[in-house]
Point group: C2
Chain length 398, copies 2
């Protein structure tokens, strides 16, 4: 879209997901209310000026002179399925035609094909088909010959959209896909185990997408890892929490190195990662209790690593009883997870060189037995380890 | 591709996912072995004749006169990332050129643009760039003028691929995407709660995709549902298990109506779905124990239904202690789940009209309290309900 079209735009059409729309009235109002609050937070945070947000049957409309900038920010808000920067006018046909011709003049290029589609709610003296036909004709009359334009309903270079809502109408040419999901905050908080790697960040994001704010917990394994690992995790957390404007930006950092040291000294080597993770789960459970969270999120995908075989996931889950372990990436291939990481902006940071954990054994068990794990854990003072870890807890603002 | 090209094809290049490839040698061999076994089962099941399957560094090659048919079936096998029906020849440059020109003659149409790309493993007297250049020129010499062909390296109508592997070479023009994942059977079995609706089938499929055979369990809620509901579930199970050729086609059907009746008579109405699901989980846990499965799969997505709020998922998970509840769709929007259902073939059946459960309350609780749930469950003889359900278990072959 040309730079000067920005000056004629005055509104953004905000569409939200079908899942919100089919909720019962009071739930839907609650969700819409939360969505509006989240939108206001984002616009304020990114200094996008606006006049007001208007709710209409299955849509929101944002009045703003910065419709393009607003649209790009809105497309990153959970619960929004798509947005279109648009020109607003009244539902009088002549006004709609006029605005459409103005927009067409800005966006059509020489030799382009175009199409007009119309969506209409309310009673009007014209049909949706009338709108398309008359606007198409008027654009051809105005620019057709000198710009060599033609109509192509199936695969146009430019698609002009018209939404008529009772007394109002909106004309647009661009639609940006949103990320979908549910407005953040419509579900209770969960705790997310965040390592700084690709998977855990995507797992947290997937859960946030369904409305749950995530409190990230990072386990600092120094001296088995170092400050590069910690730095990477905090950077990833920052990008992740950019998706949660208006929510806390706290990362809970647990000193886990001493726990890992004791595990290596006292337990079966090939099970090291399982003991380590079971301790992480237990500590995360305590953090969840302290912070009023309702579950624990991890980035495990079946079979991706030795500790993530379906047998080992069972042994891991067994370590905590009060809170479920939520693993939204269970069925994902690594390539699918990476594609999401790229989209949400964590991929580059997660791929940054950082010290890998030096405690990982060379031959990790893929089929651990719960009895064996529990027996070996008897060599640990688990209660004391949890207490010390919780005492070590630091809150880092990112 | 034209029908007569089938006659010249003699091989299929089978590519498998990067995740298998990066496993340690013995794990990779195990995975490759399972993949070959699954391929043989599928080819036998669909009566696709073939000569042999050859393993080469990061690829499998299938020798068959039915390369197109084989490719379409192979693209549905977990662990395969893509396949290309191809012409096989030796690595002598003149032979490769000859086969490329033959294939080009079959697949190029008048006015087409084309490109040649080459991948080479081993020592040869020519480079990959040589191969592309000389084949491109020879095709132009042969057909260029009379067919009005041109080379377009960036966006060709037809892309010809050449793979040279030591003494052998393969020439192809089509690549079909596979479903990726891990070969089925490389992970232990899990039990899958299958309702016949869209979500549970996709959830089971996602877990199968990562290598776990799934034993579907269907809970027959008659008289709150009826034979339309049961029929739909069994049909969905059939399509799902078409993805698991060579594995058992058993569906475990539990008579759950009596349980539901007692729940309605004795427990808090607004919590009905939670009591019902907690019973399902407990019974599934018993089935998992009986069948040597290592987990329980369900189709829940956060917030999709009242019973699936993050708070209620915690209450649900709490009903079983030995086996983890795996919920691969936790972070999915309904539209994302539906897209997968369409791809795997369950969508149409799952969308078929069936009697919805009549026991669902009009105002289900979205924030159940575990204490309240457990207190209300004291009115039930849970142990006896589980025993009776397990006794009612029927195995249906689909």
């Amino acid at each position: 879209m040309e730079a000067d079209v920005k000056n004629v735009l005055g509104s953004v059409i905000i569409r939200f997901g079908g899942e919100i729309w089919i909720k019962k009235t009071w739930t839907r109002k609650l969700y819409e209310g939360r969505l509006v609050k989240n939108i206001k937070n984002v616009l304020k945070h990114y200094d996008v000026p606006y006049d007001k947000i208007v709710r209409r049957h299955s849509r929101l409309f944002l009045r703003t002179d910065s419709a393009m900038q607003a649209s790009l920010e809105l497309a990153r808000i959970f619960g929004i399925s798509s947005v279109s920067p648009s020109l607003e006018t009244s539902s009088k046909l002549e006004k709609i035609i006029d605005r459409s011709v103005v927009l067409a003049g800005h966006v059509l290029k020489i030799g382009n094909s175009f199409a007009v589609k119309c969506r209409r709610v309310g009673k009007h003296s014209y049909s949706s088909a009338d709108v398309c036909k008359v606007i198409g004709q008027r654009i051809l009359d105005e620019f057709g010959e000198k710009m060599n334009l033609r109509v192509d309903l199936n695969n146009p270079d430019v698609g002009l959209g018209v939404e008529v809502r009772n007394d109002e109408a909106f004309v647009y040419s661009d639609t940006f896909d949103g990320v979908g999901g549910m407005p953040l905050g419509t579900q209770p908080r969960v705790v997310g185990l965040l390592s700084g790697g690709t998977d855990s960040a995507v797992a947290c994001w997937m859960i946030m997408k369904r409305g749950c704010p995530v409190a990230p917990v990072y386990f600092d394994n120094t001296p088995f890892t170092d400050e590069t690992t910690t730095g990477r995790a905090l950077n990833v957390a920052g990008v992740l929490l950019d998706w949660a404007v208006g929510f806390p930006r706290n990362v809970y950092v647990v000193q886990h190195g001493e726990n890992l040291k004791r595990i290596i000294e006292n337990c079966s080597k090939k099970l090291t990662c399982l003991f380590c993770k079971r301790m992480m789960y237990r500590i995360a459970e305590r953090v969840a209790e302290m912070k009023g969270a309702e579950g624990i999120v991890t980035g495990e995908a079946i079979g991706e690593q030795a500790s993530q075989t379906i047998t080992n996931l069972k042994v891991l889950s067994n370590a905590v009883k009060k809170y479920p372990i939520h693993r939204p990436l269970l069925g994902f291939d690594k390539s699918e997870t990476e594609a999401i990481a790229r989209r949400i902006g964590t991929y580059k940071i997660s791929s940054r060189k950082a010290k890998g954990c030096k405690a990982v054994p060379s031959k990790p068990a893929t089929k651990a037995k719960l009895e064996e794990v529990e027996e070996s854990e008897e060599n640990l003072n688990i209660k004391e380890m949890i207490e010390r870890s919780i005492e070590s807890l630091k809150v880092v603002k990112v």
